[in-house]
Structure formats: C-alpha cells, structure tokens
C-alpha cells in the first residue's frame, strides 16, 4: 500500500487501536489534520490549550488502560504541552505525544515556530524521536507505543517535520505488528531466589507493614496485593499514587503515609521491623528525614525500574520485576509454605496500631458555622457510593481528597503526585470522562488551581462532558498559606486570591450549571442535585473555612514520628 506520511500516521493510529486523540492544530500538523478530517474512526478532542491536551490524555490513560495520545503543532504548541508531558513523566503515565516540526530543510535556522522539541522534552520524557523520512513513521510510532506502555511507563515524544507528512509524497506502508529493540528489554519476571529470600524474611517478621505505591496501580496488581495482605494479615499503607490499590475501607488499611499521611501509618512505618515496599519509589514526601526512615526495618523492594531501587534508601532484598508477576509468585510460595507469621507477635503489633489509630488523627470540627472542606469530601464519598472517578488539582484540597475519599478500587484517583501540577484536575477529568462515558467523574479543586486551565470549560461544553467540579474555595492558595502560617510567622505573602470571578456566572457563561454553597447545611443537597443532573457539567463553588489546615503534617526534614497533629485529634 502506498500512502503519504500523513495518511500513514493516521492509518497507523487506527491499526494500533487508538480511539481518541487530544490535540490542537497549527501549521506544521495541517497535513495530519486534513487526514483526520477525512475519517471518523479516531475521535479528536479539541482542547483550548495544549497543556490540557496532555493532561486529558493523561487522565484518559490512567482510567482506560490504554496510552493517551496527543497531537500538537510545533513551537508554542510544544512548549505549551511540556507541563503536561512532564506531569505524565513524573507519575509514569503511558502517553504518545506527536508534535509537528518545521520542514527538515529549515530545522536549525530559527524558522517560524521552530523549537528544539527533542532537546526540550529529553529530560521530561521516557524517550523521544525525530522522524526524518515518511518511511520511518510507522516503525517509529510502533517503538513509541511500545516504550510508552511497557516497563516503567511514560510519555514518548515523536517529532514529525511538516515535509515528512507531505500529501504529495507516497511511500509503502504496512502495519508493523511487532517491534524489537536490542537496547530495551524491561524485566517482568522477578529473580526466583530473591523472591524466596523475600518470603522468608517476611515470614520472620514481628512488625511487618506493606508500603504500596503507584506501581501497584500501573501493574494492575490490586487484586494480588489484596490477596497477599489478607493472607498475611498485615497492615497496609499507601502513597498518594497507590491509593485504591488496597481497599481503603478495609480494617487492614492504615491510610496514606508521608507528609500528610495518617498518624497510624507513619508510626507503623517508624516502628516496623520488615518493610515490604511494592511499586513505590521512596519519594521525599514519603520518607521524611532519610536518616531516620524506618530505623529498625529490613526492607524488601519490588520495582520494575532498577533505578528506583536503593536510590534514596538502601534496601536489603531488591526484586526487579513487574509487581503483579512477582506478587503472583510470592502468593504461590506462601500457599505452599509450612511456616507462617508469629500470630502472637502480629496480635501485639495490631494492638499497638489500634492505639495509634485511636488518636483519630483526621478529626475536624463538625459543629462549625463554616463549611469544612473535609466535610464536603466525606459527603461526596457518601453520595457517590465511594465509586466515582476523582481527579484533583494541587494543594490542600488534593490532600483532603486523598484522606477523605476512601478509594476501594484502583484507577479511580487521578492526581498529579510527582510534579504537583496546578491546572491538572479539569483537563484530566475530561480525559477520564471520555474513557468512561456514563460514569460519575468529579474534579476536586481549589479556586487557585481551577483558574489555571479554566478555559477547558469550553471543551467540556463542546463534547458534553458532565463533570462535577467541586471547588473548595478558601480564597487562598491554601497550601502556600498553611506553610506561611507554620514556617513564616503567618506572613501571607501573595497567597491571598483576590479579585476572584463569580464562578457561578462563569460556569453559566460557558453553558454549564453553577451553584454556590455557603452553609454546611446545604452541602449534601447541592451535591445530590449536581449528581442528579446526569448530562450536565455542574460547577459547585463551596465557600469553605479559610483557616483550615491539613493534618497531620510532617514538616520538611522531620521524621515519621514527628508529626504536627490536628488540634481535634486525641493525644496519646
């Protein structure tokens, strides 16, 4: 079959099973857009800013099990998309980003809308390519999809100069069914000996704990993890990225750990003797002061990326491999094992944990005249039966979402953990809704973050995406204000959000429904009303208590047992 570069590109996407592309046109991708126009198999979602295209593809990838696909033009199209690419990179999200480039003949001449895309995206993508010949489009895209979705996933950028998609130049095309790359062979199966060693260490533990992370979600290993934890009867804590990997409503779950983790999770980390780290990368928000991290523990670490192992914390038994594959083998060994955990010790360990849990570290004031943000999220959880897809922006509201929306299933919580990108929530929710039509999707945001990609309300109207936006409006860049209160003598330097728009009118002007909620008594009714409008986007502007802080909190440089506690929690 002889096709032009643009035809090949679009045909390849179809053959690869791509159903949806998030993009924005411009000069260097016009040949490709012309091909998109001529077909209707691939749906194209026209965003209002390229950053949103990447975030939407990200949300789509996290909740569809397929890579997100982005198409943007050269120059400003690429630079706008970079924040979204970096966000996906930090959270290991599979994505293929196709970027237009100026014609090969003028690359390097400071041509109109030229940037060094490969150079700019090198440090924030898993890999990138510049395609110089139409004959290479299919094999390069195949490599891109392969790299994005295997091993430790991540965004891959494919830069395509305009002449390479020239409709006048036809070259042969056939879909490459497979691809092999001699330099890229991620390891899936864990080393059998290491797995045996890990199992015997685990069975010798007196105070074990599972520290589970985003790798469990990415690997699709929630069921194996749950089975392992139940079989052993051990406590489970999770990173922000791992939430939903183990059911949050289960007694064995201690909540999130780390900077804004629960008292019981952080204390259990500090006191454990065997730490089972599964698909988690010992991020500084999680470890706190490295020298005092899990001081008494022997550590098992399962991760597909060898570079994640012993990066910040030295581990005793590293296992390189895919979480699901390794856990499956561990379960097999455990089923056939004669030894078991010392049940007396385990009982004592749980008694200690229950005492920590009794501090009720997430307690907040239920009698306030003002709307407490935690209350809104608790109600949201109730009303959606804990089964909605939740995206967030970045700030206090994000932490409350993690603490108070109890995720029982994986791939339900979509948040920017590694880069912490304000502006992520709304476009990510669009991608989630497109991947899951008919499901409830809510974006928990703040009045600061939502304004960073507010233009996407227009995209939502065009494609009739019935999102529910939960704006926890504290009139502050709340997370910044909290740090200024704690560490800068309450000098609130530029953290007050002045001159806010009327969000109700704003939503209405984009064709949506807006509701402003000022009193705790109206919270539940407003949420019910919003979720009853199945086919409308509803913007819920909750005017919340401005002074509320996120507790517990481990200040930077402090260890797990040195938490700042909520004034409402019970001291022990």
């Amino acid at each position: 079959m002889e096709l032009s570069g643009a035809e090949i590109l679009v045909q390849f996407l179809k053959d690869e099973g791509v159903e949806c592309v998030f993009g924005y046109p411009g000069g260097s991708v016009l040949h490709i857009y012309d091909e998109l126009y001529k077909q209707d198999e691939i749906k194209h979602i026209l965003v209002r800013h390229e950053q949103a295209a990447a975030h939407a593809a990200d949300g789509y990838a996290r909740t569809s099990g397929k890579p997100g696909v982005v198409l943007v033009t050269s120059g400003p199209g690429v630079t706008n998309a970079v924040t979204g690419i970096a966000t996906a990179y930090m959270d290991s999200i599979p994505m293929v980003v196709i970027t237009g480039q100026v014609p090969t003949a003028v690359i390097g001449s400071d041509a109109f809308q030229e940037v060094d895309t490969v150079g700019i995206t090198r440090p924030c993508s898993k890999h990138n390519f510049l395609v110089k010949d139409a004959r290479d489009i299919a094999s390069t895209l195949k490599k891109a999809f392969h790299l994005a979705t295997t091993g430790r996933p991540g965004p891959v950028v494919v830069d395509v100069p305009k002449d390479v998609t020239d409709p006048g130049v036809k070259v042969p095309y056939s879909y490459p069914e497979t691809i092999s790359m001699r330099s890229y062979n991620p390891r899936v199966k864990g080393n059998a000996r290491q797995i045996r060693r890990a199992v015997s260490l685990i069975l010798s533990a007196k105070r074990p704990i599972i520290y589970s992370g985003g790798g469990v979600i990415l690997s699709g290993a929630a069921d194996s993890l749950t089975e392992l934890a139940r079989m052993l009867g051990v406590p489970v804590t999770s990173t922000l990225m791992g939430l939903g990997g183990y059911p949050a409503t289960d007694r064995q779950f201690l909540g999130m750990l780390g900077m804004h983790g629960t008292y019981e999770a952080n204390m259990a980390m500090h006191e454990c003797d065997v730490l089972i780290a599964i698909g988690a990368r010992f991020d500084d928000r999680v470890t706190g002061k490295i020298e005092q991290f899990c001081p008494d523990a022997k550590i098992v670490h399962i991760d597909i990326d060898p570079a994640s192992i012993s990066k910040t914390v030295k581990v005793d038994i590293p296992i390189v491999g895919d979480v699901d594959s390794v856990l499956t083998e561990m379960l097999q060994l455990l089923r056939n094992s004669d030894s078991a955990l010392d049940q007396e010790e385990l009982k004592l360990w749980w008694e200690l944990i229950e005492r920590w849990r009794a501090t009720n570290c997430l307690a907040y004031d239920h009698d306030s005249e003002l709307i407490k943000p935690q209350f809104v999220i608790e109600k949201l959880w109730e009303i959606t039966g804990g089964d909605a897809f939740i995206t967030t922006d970045v700030g206090q509201h994000q932490m409350w979402a993690a603490q108070f929306y109890r995720f029982d299933k994986p791939n339900r919580f979509v948040t920017s953990g590694g880069l912490g990108t304000m502006g992520f929530g709304l476009p990510a929710a669009m991608g989630v809704q497109i991947a899951n039509p008919g499901s409830s999707v809510a974006c928990i945001t703040g009045e600061g973050s939502i304004q960073m990609c507010i233009q996407e309300l227009s995209t939502c109207f065009q494609y009739m995406l019935p999102l529910k936006i939960i704006n926890l409006n504290n009139r502050y860049l709340g997370m910044v204000r909290q740090w200024q209160e704690f560490f800068y003598g309450s000098r609130y330097s530029h953290s007050y959000m002045d001159a806010l728009p009327d969000f109700v009118k704003l939503a209405e002007s984009y064709g949506h429904v807006g509701i402003c909620i000022q009193s705790p008594a109206d919270v539940e009714g407003a949420l019910r009303e919003a979720f009853s409008m199945k086919d409308r986007l509803v913007f819920l502007d909750f005017i919340t208590d401005q002074t509320e802080n996120v507790y517990p909190m481990i200040a930077a440089g402090k260890a797990h047992h040195e938490m700042e506690m909520s004034p409402k929690s019970v001291l022990i």
Partner: protein
C-alpha cells in the same frame, strides 16, 4: 572513587546529548568522556570517567542503563583493565636548554616529538591519566602553550569484553 564506565550506545543523532544531559540534570560529575563509532557502524562506544560514592556510581550505572539508546554497559573499574589516553602537548622550546630538556622527558615517557618549529616542540604521549599528569608536572618551568587530551579509553583485560 574514580570509575571508568564503558558504554555501547546506538549510533543515533542525539545519543551523546542524552548521556551528557543525564549527568548535568542529575548533578553527576564527568571527568572525561570520549566517543567514537565501533567496528559495527550502528554502535558507538563511549568511555566515561566519573567520581562518586558507591551509592552514586550505582545510580549512575542504573540511570545510564535506563537510557533507551544504551545497549550495554560495563564498569571497567570492577575488574582488571587497561586504560589509555593520548595527549598532544605544545611547549616552548626556544633555548637549547629547553629543547634538550623536552627531548629528554619525551624519551623517558616514551613520547614522540611530532612537530618542531623555531620556538616550539609538539609532543605526543600515550598512557594512563596518571602518566600524562606526571609528564606535565615534570615539565616544570617549561612553558606549556597548549594541551589536548582525548579523555580516557579503556578495555577489560583477558577474556572479559564488552560486546553484543
């Protein structure tokens, strides 16, 4: 500790900048870096000299291996190996005394004088980094006009080798 790491990398545009970018982004130090194609035109071989604690070197090798273009890698320092570097050095040799001294040192260090002008000698010297350093020290007061060094290259001794 000083480590010499040999890397086989796809001979693609931008491969070098991926390695260099990794080092600058992660704050690792590069003492020297040399690159050239191998007998297989699709592969380049890099030799990289770096310093760091065992933990940092472990991260460096892991991060290098993680680069998609890196095919294979060997830390030469882990076994017996041969290390060589070439230096071209131009010194002032205007007086008889200077000429004799430079000639004598070049002989002692088994170097060659490649080029002679009225007032300069250019010496070629091969050896490990320490040998080249000591030649420079031995020159003492003789003014150095120019030095060019290619950076260390290395190869494992015996049957151990880095190939596909």
């Amino acid at each position: 500790m000083r480590h010499i790491i040999s890397i086989l990398i796809e001979n693609e545009a931008g491969a070098l900048s991926r390695v260099a970018g990794l080092f600058s982004a992660r704050g690792y130090n590069i003492e020297s870096l040399s690159v050239a194609p191998t007998e297989d035109a699709s592969l380049s071989r890099m030799t990289l000299v770096t310093r760091g604690s065992e933990q940092i070197i472990e991260q460096i090798t892991k991060q290098l291996n993680k680069l998609v273009d890196v095919v294979k890698l060997l830390d030469l320092t882990e076994g017996e190996h041969i290390e060589r570097e070439i230096m071209l050095i131009k010194v002032r040799a205007a007086s008889n005394g200077e000429r004799e001294e430079v000639k004598r040192l070049a002989d002692i260090f088994r170097g060659h004088i490649l080029d002679v002008s009225r007032v300069t000698y250019t010496v070629e010297l091969t050896g490990d980094t320490r040998k080249l350093d000591s030649f420079i020290r031995a020159l003492g007061d003789i003014p150095i006009l120019e030095t060019v060094r290619c950076g260390s290259m290395g190869i494992p001794r015996g049957e151990r080798s880095l190939h596909l």
